[in-house]
Amino acid sequence: MTRKVVSMRYSALEILKQGLRGNLHWPRMWRTPELKPGYDVVIVGGGGHGLATAHYLAQLHGVTNVAVLEKGWIGGGNVGRNTTMIRSNYLLPGNQPFYEMSLKLWEGLEQDLNYNAMVSQRGILNLCHSDAQRDGFIRRGNAMLLSGAGAEFWEPERIRSFLPMIDFDNARFPIRGGLWQPRAGTVRHDAVAWGFARAADGAGVDIIQNCEVTGFTTEAGRCTGVETTRGPVRADKVAICVAGSSSRVMAKAGLQLPITSHALQACVTEGLKPFLPCIVTFGAGHFYVCQSDKGGLVFGGDIDGYASYAQRGGLATIEDVCEGGMAVMPAIGRARILRTWGGLVDMSMDGSPFIDRTEIPGLYFNGGWCYGGFKATPGSGFAYAHLLATDESLPEASAFRLDRFATGAVIDEKGMGAQSNLH
């Protein structure tokens, strides 16, 4: 049973009309429906990936008898606490076509959702500091070209003229060049969740907040639904999409994952007038940075290294990240950090994610996005919806298998091996 909910079309004219009425008559962006006894698909997790999955299930596959169950408030996980960057600058054939597909979806997102998530293709520059690193970037840049993602290699002179705030004269690790992807960019992260939620809700998907999944129901070895804090729900297919809680949720189904959860910290400064025109990553330390539309420098580095569900990190990491920042860009010394926060990232054993069936029929798993889940949001939803609707993997996501460690077909971009905190 599908139910089409008429949703207002947003436009400048509508803003004017509503503004003149005191902005008190805007419709809700999504409903607060009652949980039904059963659905075709129950998506567990109302984050960016789960909401995107619901949207694409409805839009592309006509599957609208769908519930998205969210433990807290939608968009409260990764999509609400990332560093807003999108890119498709991967190396390996298992990854690069997927992220490029995702980037293409970002490019059409506003029109698709009638929601401005402020996709801003400002470009990303990965700085390199040694001949070996440069050779690696060129290999990667060529892989990007082969997948149609676009890439350029910039010599130091070009970087110096484009980014005069970078330290060329006094650096411990001189800059030997940079890999530039012009189509990379930033997005207003929270709005992605809201935009997908509004679109999915408009197509009839039930978004249920404050509804935690407490267990799975199985019949004859098949997953037939979930138990929740609001009672049991039947489902033909149960789709797990709970970054940061993957191991905890899958343990309820008796499955162990090649995943460890870690704290990843990020920082934002006070608002500043336009300073940095693109995303920059430092190649001789842990530091990457962009500037938000509001003017804050948004930056981060590496995970804290130890398993954690505490959603906070330590000072040593912040210090390390700021050292990296001052090493590459000493003009930011007087910018003040307004907030630091720690998110949970599910680090897989090769640094790459999963979108796959599980060994339990009817139960599907999407997770292990490490610190790269945000940029994957539309692609992940698109690929997961395809898998749920057709029971076939989308070609671009076909390497994201759960059995790849058993077979050895790992997707190890960094070549660090089976240790989750090294990716």
Binding site: S130, R134, E270, T407
Partner: protein, 957 residues
């Protein structure tokens, strides 16, 4: 011009006049002023523009919670934007500017936004700027970015220095108001190691701002005496101008100390078993139309300026509030001779429903609709305890209806106690009692007894009745002043479904400004609760995150910037190499000689070619001390090494060396090097330079965690030995002159090793070769490294030998087909590297089982090959991908990549090592090296990766 300096009073030094510049104007103040108090004393009412609507704003508070008065300090490279004028100690020569306007502060062109505010309500940008698509990035977004942001960075290198350090204490007292001072005194007198930190320049907190008395004397006088007593106690460290900004694991606290003599700021990491949170409370505003006009101030701030700085914030001051502090404000103002025009107490039904005045307050409209003249309106909506630090471990504050405030809940960070206004204790005497009581508890936990000596103080009235906003009045009422979030925005957010507190924050940006919502969060929450018709306690609360107040990036980095970003490791031959004019290059933390140019050489390529040719024809010397060296000793050393390496080590004879390959436990190749057996139970393992530390850690893991029963011990001696490669046909002749022992081929065959006497010093000699020539590596204790390189090179002269650097080293290893970092990249297997036969199937070793996974054995894996250009004049470069000659340049056609490419002076053309799908069986194939990134696409022929002397005859001469 409304504010003015009183003729007497205040804790300022009227004998120390300070001049400063504000927007180019020269003004003056006194020692003890803040920039804010001095601006107010000079009648500066308008000081800033708001973030979104660019509305005129004045100074609203007297502390770090200030949402409005953000200014830019300093000039040139030392420009600091977004500084709260309320926390800047005034100093002579200070230069400050207003910010975030176009035109001037008074006439800001961007205030057009204010006129458009009906269409710029919460989240408007999510609903527009979508058509036409291309306009977003070209037009709309640049415009948004230009108007957003606050102040500007200079763009120049931060010229100041920062420090960081560690401190330890039994007790950290956070905040030096009455509760904090009492806690510090009580614990300090009991002998505990105490640190007391306060963000202000003066200890005392509200005691400096109020006319309350302690033991019959003014409160600020008691604070001064307390500060003096604490400073005199050897076990107490007093840290003024120091903000405890975060609580971390294991009793660690982050402190930012501002403005010591030598550095701009110091970042301290403090360990304390206990902390007393005495962070006080922040007064919050009331939402009513026009409540953001310059001249509308917090009542507590009005008292601060009056009592501490002797500044009247207006000539006609009106009061509006919901609590007993109004009476105190009126009393203090009248005592100073300031006209109090009206006292509006919401508990008696009074209110303010409008304000007037273009760039500063001129009139207020009271609830009965009458306009009253006033140039300052002091407001008080009650106090929000500064619970931030208790939330840093995810503790939740709890709502107390009687004081209409969130107070710390039971779930505090380990070791933390709370005292004073932060607990909701309203009165001075309660604050003192709580401070002492907390210290007594801490002393008990440390096994001592503290005596409670609380001085007499008043229990001033603190009654309050919650009152959040004036309803029914027309006009915009601000909640978050910096981000221009109004009561209407909150209602709109609720209407659109953003009811969860975090949704409210994110949708409206409430509390996301530089004040982190210190004054606005609770008000916003109360309004949402009212709109939803639920109690505040049920509407939730937001989590506060570090830092409590913003911290400069430079302070976190401290001295680790520029060349000091990371330590530099130097090789033993560096002084000598520098004398020779060697060019150095970073290799991880090491600096290594890259090549040794000689007079007349036109390019580095020419130099490198000469170094290679000389080495291959005569002799060359290279510093290889950076290779990792791990000594392995013990009765089970052989068994241990046999387990660590994938190839066999059980039968290596004493005095012999073997090439070894380590796998990771997941079966991929890890690191390679040599292993020399010096005696029955003594081996030396070498690792690559890059992985020296990592491999040592891995070997310790295997030893301690997987082989605990073995008698084997490891020590890293990388820095202990200077080691030189002496390579080339004349290497034996050269070394024979320096080494006492017989090193003839018979006595010292290929792969021999042992102890030797080098120039009279005990050293080691390994007959191993990376270059493919007859070669040795000779090692002496690092302190003799400089002497040895000089001795080696003196002897090399007679052979017309050369020193060579990392470039020539790299060329010769590619010519020989030895894998290095680009090949051992963690993604390749032993078989991929052509070393598959090394993985012994006769024994268990690390990685053996997982190396047999099907995908690691697949025939079409990319495998190591050699490449030469079809046209020998063309150059090869690493990073190119390999395609069939007729294939399209797309991912599906990708067959591999070039990992290393060099010009071989030996062969006279470029050569490359590459990984090619199924490459092990593809010698003779012609393919393309496609480098779209650099616009190159050339034909190459697949050959063996062993370009030079594949039989290894030269090694054994």
């Amino acid at each position: 011009m409304s504010g003015y300096r009183l003729d007497a009073g205040g804790q300022i030094d009227r004998n120390a006049k300070l001049s400063f510049r504000w927007d180019g104007k020269s003004l003056s103040g006194f020692e003890g002023d803040t920039l804010a108090s001095a601006l107010l004393a000079n009648g500066q009412s308008l000081v800033a523009r708001s973030f979104k609507y660019h509305r005129p704003r004045g100074i609203m508070t007297a502390g770090s919670e200030e949402p409005n008065a953000l200014v830019t300090l300093g000039e040139g490279a030392a420009t600091t934007p977004n500084t709260k004028a309320t926390v800047v100690p005034l100093r002579d020569g200070l230069v400050a500017h207003s910010q975030n306007w176009r035109g001037s502060l008074k006439w800001d062109l961007m205030s057009l936004n204010d006129v458009l505010s009906p269409v710029l309500s919460a989240g408007f940008y999510y609903k527009t700027f979508m058509w036409p698509k291309s306009f977003w990035e070209r037009l709309y977004e640049p415009a948004i970015r230009a108007s957003a942001g606050l102040g500007a960075l200079s763009g120049s290198v931060d010229p100041d220095s920062y420090a960081n350090g560690f401190k330890h204490a039994d007790l950290l007292v956070i905040g030096a108001g009455p509760a904090g001072l009492m806690a510090a005194l009580t614990a300090g007198r009991a002998g505990l190691r105490v640190i007391v930190a306060d963000e202000d320049t003066r200890l005392g907190g509200r005691l400096n701002a109020e006319t309350l008395e302690i033991a019959g004397a003014p409160g600020h006088q008691w604070a001064t005496e307390a500060a003096a007593e604490l400073a005199a106690l050897p076990n107490v460290t007093v840290m003024p101008q120091s903000t405890v900004f975060g609580v971390y694991d294991g009793g660690q606290y982050g402190i930012l100390e501002r403005g010591t003599a030598q550095v701009r700021a110091t970042f301290w990491r403090v360990r304390a078993r206990h902390a007393v949170l005495a962070s006080g409370a922040t007064e919050r505003p009331i939402a009513f139309p026009g409540n953001d006009r310059p001249g509308v101030m917090m009542a507590g701030a009005v008292r601060t300026y009056l009592n501490r700085f002797a500044v009247a914030t207006g000539q006609q001051v009106a009061l509006f509030g919901n609590n007993d502090s109004l009476a105190r404000t009126a009393r203090d103002l009248r005592a100073a001779g300031v006209d109090v025009v009206v006292e509006l107490d919401s508990r008696a039904g009074a209110s303010v429903i409008g304000t007037n005045g273009r760039q500063g307050l001129r009139q207020i409209m009271t609830g009965d609709g009458t306009w009253r003249e006033a140039d300052c309106l002091a407001i008080s909506g009650g106090w929000s305890p500064n619970v931030h630090l208790m939330c840093h471990h995810r503790g939740r504050p709890v709502w107390r209806e009687d004081i209409a405030a969130f107070v710390p809940g039971p779930d505090l960070p380990p070791g933390m106690l709370c005292a004073g206004a932060v607990t909701g204790a309203g009165s001075l005497s309660a604050a003192l009692r709580e401070g002492a009581a907390a210290a007594v508890k801490v002393a008990e936990a440390h096994g001592t007894t503290a005596r409670t000596e609380v001085p007499q103080a008043e229990d001033e009235p603190t009654a309050i009745a919650a009152f959040w906003h004036v309803s029914g009045a027309k006009g915009r009422a601000f909640v978050d002043f910096q981000h221009d979030v109004t009561t209407k925005d909150i209602i709109q957010a609720k209407t659109e479904g953003f009811e969860a507190v975090e949704h409210l924050k994110r949708y409206t940006t409430l509390g996301m400004a530089t004040d982190q919502g210190k004054s606005s969060n609770v008000l916003g929450l109360a309004l949402m609760a009212e709109a939803r018709g639920v109690p505040i306690a049920d509407a939730g609360t937001t989590i506060f995150r570090p830092p409590y107040t913003p911290v400069p990036i430079g302070a976190f980095a401290g001295p680790h910037r520029g060349p000091q970003f990371r330590p530099v490791r130097r090789t033993p031959s560096e002084p000598w190499a520098k004398e020779q004019g060697a060019v150095f290059i970073e290799a991880g933390q090491w600096m290594r000689a890259q090549y040794f140019p000689r007079a007349g050489e036109q390019s580095w390529q020419e130099t490198v070619a000469r170094e290679v040719t000389t080495t291959r024809s005569s002799v060359g010397v290279c510093d290889v001390s950076t290779l990792g060296k791990i000594e392995v000793q013990g009765r089970d050393a052989a068994a241990y090494l046999n387990f660590v390496y994938c190839n066999g080590f059980a039968k290596l004879a004493v005095g012999r060396t073997r090439y070894g390959l380590m796998l990771r436990e997941d079966g991929f190749a890890y690191d390679d090097g040599t292993c020399a057996r010096l005696s029955e139970h003594h081996y030396i393992v070498t690792t690559t330079t890059a992985k020296a530390g990592e491999v040592y850690r891995h070997m310790e893991f295997v030893r301690q965690c997987l082989c605990p029963e073995m008698d084997v011990h490891l020590i890293s001696t990388t820095d202990g030995w200077a080691q030189y490669s002496v390579a080339g046909p004349q290497s034996r002749s050269l070394l024979s002159r320096l080494i006492d022992e017989d090193i003839s081929d018979t006595a010292y065959p290929y792969m021999a090793c042992g102890a030797v006497t080098v120039c009279g010093t005990a050293g080691r000699l390994f007959r191993i070769s990376f270059s493919g020539e007859l070669a040795y590596e000779v090692a002496v204790p690092a302190r003799y490294g400089d002497a040895l390189i000089r001795a080696l090179m003196a002897e090399a002269q007679s052979f017309d030998g050369t020193a060579y650097g990392t470039e020539a080293l790299g060329v010769m290893r590619v010519e020989k087909g030895h894998p290095a970092g680009a090949e051992l990249n963690g993604q390749t297997t032993a078989a991929d590297l052509g070393l598959g036969r090394m993985v012994s199937s006769k024994k268990d070793s690390i990685g053996a089982v997982a190396s047999r996974r099907p995908a690691l054995l697949a025939e079409d894996r990319a495998q190591l090959v050699g490449l030469v250009p079809e046209d020998k004049s063309k150059s090869l470069r690493a990073g190119a991908h390999l395609l069939a000659t007729d294939a399209a340049a797309e991912m599906g056609q990708d067959q591999g990549w070039i990992s290393s490419a060099v010009h071989s002076p030996t062969l006279g053309h470029d050569i490359a090592l590459a990984f090619l799908k199924g490459g092990a069986n593809r010698a003779g194939d012609r393919i393309r090296a496609w480098d779209g990134l650099r616009g190159r696409d050339i034909l190459v022929d697949v050959v063996s990766p062993h370009f030079y002397d594949p039989e290894g005859a030269r090694l054994r001469t």
